[in-house]
Amino acid sequence: MEIHVDFNAIDTVTETLGWIVIVFFANKIYQKQMVKPKVWKIPVIILAGLISLSINWNMFDVIVKLPILPLGVWILYFVRKRKDRAERWQTYRSFAWLGFGANFIFFASTLLTIPVHHAIYPKDEPSVHISKVTNAAIIKIHPSAKDRSLNKDSLLNQLDTLRQEPIYSNRWYEETIMNTESNKRNERFPYQLIGTSSKWGSGLHTLIYVEEDGKGILLSAPKMQLYFRSKDSLLEGGE
């Protein structure tokens, strides 16, 4: 098993920032209060306050959670109210609401990550998806592929000069299946590039197909595809 350091750096940073903001507010509330609650209870109350009914909303392929109902606050209210006298609830109430409010802090920070992520890791640049090629290799995924291997230098040298071109998905599909017996079909992208990694911290995982002539690359994610052509072949050997 290989160990993968693979995380989304920007998400990690904004999440940390979010928690710093929450701790800041918690401290502010604490300082202001006349009757101080037990300190160890504060994080518990905040975490419980976080519980909420929220709607998941897909924005530019990022799932953002928009909180609606403060379930945690309600639960705490009933538990605390029954247990203690009402005034005890007063000392914890602000922290419970801060917990619920934390949802909005994270909501805002997720919204913020979208343009930031886009600026640091522009998805339409191949070098974001193919950053390290040390362990790169080509695999034949279809029998129409020829015995050829990856030319790493060619790939590295051309990464910045690849031309983006439109994807004609249904034309490619039709061209492949028409005028050929079903048994004799070729695949337009019979190779897959593996072992590359995306830019550090981007958290991107892209499937990379290579065209039969070795001069086309199809970057494929569940919700996005990009197609690039190169001047020279990325493959060597074979013919």
Binding site: D61, Y173, T176, N183, G195, S220, Q225
Partner: protein, 238 residues
């Protein structure tokens, strides 16, 4: 007094840990004898009518594949797992059509094709496939093209009726790439596994005696069905 307390506390902490470790994590003991295997299989699943053990094949440290012949003359497969400090039969198939045994669900390099083909079917080879269909879609003007994946691995059946084969490096690499890239979508993508049986004349055939068995499983094993595909559904560009 306090020393005594400490001792008893230590005792009551350590003893259960040792027992738990022994029960769940200890290394397997020697594998049961063939007679014991037959007996356990027939006790758990009388329909198996197991009679002859062909071989015991360790697959990893805690898993053993046991091909067997039944009283009825069927060639079957049984799957043994070391669990709770005991060798247990986790699954039995009375017939040995190929399956994919996933030892660790999330690690394709631990997947094995296993089979036990009845000699009466006279197969000379099996071709295994990993396939994903070619496709395209256009949603709101955004185009998406899915290349066809069709990878093949041939296995000769000349020597033994049974066999096992780990997924090759290339297959594992492709599966891992898909799992990572599509984890946002569906956990298991559209990759599927198939096989084509070939007879002595290298003609596609149907192995009557090796399919449609009955099975027993206590759900501790992950066995994927490998379906028979038609030659017509396979692309042979050259």
């Amino acid at each position: 007094m306090t020393k005594k307390k400490l001792w008893s506390l230590g005792f009551f902490m350590i003893l259960p840990s040792i027992i738990l470790y022994w029960f769940y994590f200890s290394k397997p003991t020697s594998f049961p004898t063939n007679e014991q295997l037959v007996e356990e299989m027939n006790r758990n699943f009388p329909e198996a009518t197991a009679s002859v053990i062909q071989e015991t094949i360790p697959v990893g440290e805690r898993n053993v594949l046991v091909p067997f012949i039944s009283k009825r003359g069927d060639y079957g497969l049984s799957y043994w797992v070391w669990k709770n400090h005991k060798w247990k039969v986790a699954s039995i198939d009375t017939k040995g059509e190929p399956r994919l045994w996933k030892i660790h669900k999330n690690d394709p390099s631990s997947f094995y094709f296993v089979w036990n083909i009845h000699p009466k079917d006279q197969l000379s080879s099996i071709h295994f496939y990993m396939i994903r269909d070619r496709g395209y879609r256009i949603t709101k003007g955004v185009e998406h093209y899915e290349p066809r994946v069709q990878m093949e691995k041939r296995v000769s059946l000349q020597e033994k009726s049974y066999g096992w084969m780990q997924l090759s490096h290339d297959w594992v690499a492709i599966m891992n790439a898909y799992r990572k890239a599509e984890s946002a979508k569906l956990p298991e993508q559209d990759l599927f596994f198939g096989w084509i049986p070939y007879d002595q004349m290298n003609k596609e055939t149907f192995p009557e005696s090796s399919v449609n068995g009955t099975g027993y499983s206590n759900s501790e094993v992950d066995l994927e069905h490998v379906m028979i595909v038609n030659r017509g559904d396979i692309e042979f560009p050259r």
